[in-house]
């Protein structure tokens, strides 16, 4: 099937099998490997991207469902920022400053989920962060510094 999807600001048209997952479309068709697949069951959130600005888990969205829509991945996030810090989007910079990543595998999804959360709720407290990001699993950080990263990013974006 033919799909027209705007990926990180660039419109493209591709022929894709109907069963192709959006995560595989981004990784294999578009050559954007930052979006990781961690579970296959919508449980871990490593594959989180923005679809028309809202966070979705791209391992359970078909590429054809993104037809006519806009996708933002980790690679395209800095391009959406009003202001960059060390070449990074404020959410990305906050994760670095607070050591909110270790192995980095959950990070693209965590950063995109954070971006969507802060667009919806610019002033979350710790409990709101934990509740909102519960669907994103990290095995390395114990979440402590991820929570701090999100709170720091919120402050930077306000």
């Amino acid at each position: 099937m033919q799909v027209s999807i705007t990926v990180n600001g660039t419109a493209r048209t591709d022929d894709v099998p109907p069963r192709l997952l959006l995560a595989h479309y981004l990784r294999d068709t578009c050559g954007l490997p930052a979006t990781n697949i961690g579970c296959d069951t919508t449980s871990c959130g490593a594959c989180t991207v923005l679809l028309d600005g809202e966070s979705v888990k791209s391992c359970t969205v078909l590429a054809v469902q993104a037809d006519g829509r806009a996708v933002t991945t980790l690679e395209g996030l800095a391009g959406t920022a009003d202001q960059l810090e060390d070449g990074m989007h404020p959410v990305q910079a906050a994760f670095r400053a607070e050591h909110g990543l270790q192995c980095g595998f959950c990070t693209p999804g965590m950063v995109m989920a954070t971006t969507a959360l802060l667009a919806e709720n610019p002033n979350p407290d710790e409990q709101a962060v934990r509740t909102a990001l519960e669907g994103n699993i990290c095995r390395c950080t114990g979440y402590h510094n991820i929570v701090r990263s999100v709170l720091r990013a919120a402050e930077a974006l306000r």
Binding site: Q92, F95, I146
Partner: protein, 768 residues
């Protein structure tokens, strides 16, 4: 947040340096094995495994014809088809029974659900999933053994030719004489349940054979050099025919060590079809077939006087090794070694049997044998305290070893380097405000609140950086300064989240004055770095980091020899000018030569091997505070206050991150996580929807207490830290949950302390 107590050094060491690897990770993502783009992998096939759906069965036939006819299928290989590999595989350690080694693909019998039976090679991954379902395997079911006690009884044998399910055993049979003089003796069975390491990046590899007959294997792994040796052995080829490259690795936690049979099959299949092959498993495959951790049934016996003095302790272990022998079979050796923990108990006895069952093989998981030791003794001390009606703090204080600065030998033959356990306990109690917690608990009990408060303690010591069986623990590093003023560090360690690119650059920068941004750290390519022990057992900084410092210091000495010739002075008159990354003549700072200039005429590099006198023994104390709803049994962790003393801290930001991760995994085992099988050996936790991997809402922010007692075993004063959290936190959290309902008569609840278990314990206690 812990205070930085180390700024006084006036150097980069001990400071909170943000990671230099992060900007790439955060803007374009890391490059994991499945992300690797390389000419050698052009046109690579995708491997998909056909795995046993039955826990124990004889394979009567395999029909691959339908699969071979499916779209995109290039080959389907079974054990009978796999060419050029040894007839049998060797166990991971030579003293383990040879028949219990896992075959590359199951031959006649399958012994756990998830065991690889065949591999399908296709043009793309979706075709592989389709075709794997078309491989028709007929199974004739055999009796199943899941429970370790049933395995020990031996009615069902997994390997009849071995004559027993016991893979490995040690220690004397128990004798009641040990406890004959004790006023009080408490005996209890404790289950240290099976858990899944579950790194977010599942297992993956990519294999390409060159025209020279050499294999290049990209592998998600914690140590390329060890994996290379394992692969060469399993493939039956010479080590020099194998090159292993570890790209960025998305977590390991002990379960990405060496090479799994799946990896060997992928490499062998690529050789057989003459094309490169890539493999990445699904999460379900990961939960089925990546090794699991823990899985011990322990019996503790603790005896002593009513004043709180512990006189004797015995730990008997039945270790579930899973269906084939892996590192899990020898985990109880470490558990036994660390059995007495921090206590000066006069008599300590241990014994163990490791048995095979029709379950996924067990190997290392963060802590690997030591959390099990701490869980047993810390639970036993609480049981003893409850029996004599003393506060668990008082019993611990009475029995802790006093502070020591010279190595001492323990009851079980371990040599502890340095430690101050009483101080660790007092500091963490003060940080948690223990008396206030007890008052709050008393008030809630008095009021009969539905939500009761529990306070759990643990005081621990662990072993880190244990070496190979031959020789002392050691690691190599190479430091080279380039003519443009940049530097490269090669290390035999292998980060997968720990941040060595930053930490090792800090160490080299400290010695050479070159800014960390100009230092590149490389690892994980066996052609570039032929030797190395990888990153496991909390060894990296104390051995690999120490090697970087040693190599950099030797490089300065080499540079002084060369600079002396250039400047026509005595080498002894040269001093390091860190700000300029150069050597100057003492008293004449205007004269000098940079390391960069010295590298112009000939390479300026040193490779050095650091050897430690032995492993180190970090220690700490944790206080956990849990709330338990006595009506529903739901337990929630409210606070976790942790002191983890791993000697001198290099980068507090990274060190705290290591502690946080360990604390979370420890709390996760205590509260929620468990791999479950039904009595027929069917796994019941095969996705993250079923396996309750700990999430953000189940954990609090952690309260860290700083403490640094340096070791004398390396120039950095550093001990291992990566596994501390799982060792200290697991029993502290479990003890907290039990303590919350102790006033209702509950003495013990096995992990994970789920609502059902807690509720049941409360009800059984009230009935009893």
């Amino acid at each position: 947040m812990a205070e930085v107590a180390t700024q006084t050094r006036g150097s980069i060491l001990g400071t909170r340096v943000a990671r230099i690897e992060d900007p790439a990770f955060l803007t374009r993502g890391a490059t994991y094995t499945d992300d690797v783009v390389d000419d050698r992998l052009a046109g690579a096939l995708r491997a998909t495994f056909v795995r046993s759906p039955i826990a124990h069965a004889r394979i009567t036939s395999i029909d691959t014809s339908d699969a071979l006819a499916a779209d995109g299928v290039v080959a389907v290989l079974t054990a009978a088809d796999l060419a050029g590999v040894p007839e049998t595989q060797a166990p991971p350690m030579p003293f383990l029974p040879a028949p219990m080694a896992q075959p590359l693909l199951a031959k006649d019998v399958v012994r756990f659900v998830g065991e690889p039976v065949a591999v399908v090679l296709t043009d793309d991954a979706y075709q592989g999933e389709d075709a794997a379902e078309l491989v028709a395997v007929d199974y004739d079911p055999l009796p199943v053994v899941v429970d370790v006690r049933a395995s020990l009884a031996g009615e069902v044998l997994l390997f009849p030719e071995h004559g027993s399910n016991v893979a490995f055993a040690n220690g004397a049979p128990s004798s009641d004489d040990t406890f004959a003089g004790c006023e009080v003796v408490v005996r209890r069975e404790i289950v240290n349940q099976r858990v899944a390491p579950a790194p977010l990046e599942v297992r993956a590899c990519a294999a390409a054979w060159g025209e020279d007959g050499r294999l290049t294997l990209w592998l998600s792994n914690q140590g390329a050099q060890g994996a290379k040796a394992a692969l060469a052995g399993a493939l039956g080829c010479e080590p020099q025919q194998v090159r292993v490259i570890t790209p960025d690795v998305g977590g390991g936690f002990g379960a990405k060590v060496g090479a799994d049979t799946d990896h060997v099959v992928v490499a062998a299949a690529a050789r057989q079809v003459g094309r490169p092959v890539r493999w990445i498993e699904t999460r379900s495959e990961n939960l089925l077939a990546m090794t699991h951790g823990r899985a011990q049934v322990q019996t503790v016996t603790i005896g002593g006087r009513r004043d709180g003095t512990i006189e004797a302790y015995r730990l008997e272990i039945v270790q579930d090794a899973g269906a084939y022998v892996q590192f899990g079979a020898v985990l109880p050796m470490l558990t036994s070694l660390m059995a007495p923990g921090v206590y000066a108990i006069p008599t300590v006895e241990t014994s163990f049997s490791s048995v095979v069952t029709n379950t996924t093989p067990v190997a290392a998981y963060r802590g690997a044998g030591r959390p099990e030791a701490t869980a047993a003794i810390e639970r036993a001390v609480d049981l003893f305290a409850a029996e004599i009606g003393l506060d668990p703090v008082d019993v611990r204080v009475r029995n802790l070893r006093p502070a020591f600065t010279e190595p001492l030998t323990t009851q079980t033959g371990a040599t502890y380097d340095t430690g101050d356990y009483p101080a660790a306990l007092q500091k963490v109690l003060a940080a948690a405000d223990y008396p206030a917690l007890r008052r709050e608990q008393a008030a809630r009990r008095e009021r009969g609140d539905a939500r009761q408060l529990g306070i759990g303690l643990s005081v621990y010591v662990e072993i880190t950086g244990a070496g190979a069986e031959s020789g002392p623990p050691s690691e190599n590093a190479q430091v080279e300064v380039h003519p443009d003023g940049s530097a490269t560090v090669l290390t035999g360690t292998s980060p997968h989240g720990q941040g060595h690119a930053t930490a090792w650059a800090m160490l080299a920068s400290e010695e050479l004055g070159i800014p960390i941004e100009r230092i590149t750290v490389q690892w994980g390519d066996t052609d570039l770095i032929p030797e190395g022990g990888g990153t496991m057992g909390s060894r990296s900084l104390q051995q690999g980091g120490a090697a970087v410092t040693q190599a950099a210091r030797e490089l300065v000495e080499l540079a002084k020899q060369r600079a002396a010739d250039v400047l026509e002075v005595d080498p002894a008159d040269l001093v390091l000018d860190r700000a300029g990354a150069r050597l100057t003549v003492a008293g004449a700072p205007g004269s000098g030569v940079t390391f960069a200039a010295l590298a112009e005429s000939e390479p300026l590099l040193v490779r050095s091997v650091f050897s430690a006198p032995g492993p180190t023994f970090p220690f700490g104390a944790h206080v956990a505070v849990a709330e338990v709803d006595v009506e529903t049994g739901k337990a929630e962790l409210r606070r976790l206050v942790a002191l983890d003393d791993a000697g001198t801290v290099l980068n507090p930001l990274l060190a705290e991150g290591q502690r946080h991760g360990g604390l979370a995994q420890g709390a996760a085992q205590a509260l929620v996580e468990e791999v479950l099988y039904d009595p027929d050996g069917n796994p019941m936790t095969t996705t993250f929807a079923d396996y309750p991997i700990v999430t953000m809402t189940e954990l609090p922010s952690f309260e860290l207490v700083a403490s640094e007692t340096p070791t004398t075993y390396n120039p950095l004063g550093a001990k291992g830290l990566g596994e501390a959290g799982t060792i200290g936190a697991t029993p502290a959290v479990q003890n907290a949950v039990i303590d919350a309902v102790a006033h209702l008569g509950v003495r013990h609840i096995d992990m994970p302390t789920t609502s059902y278990r807690v509720w049941t314990a409360i009800n059984e206690a009230s009935e009893g």
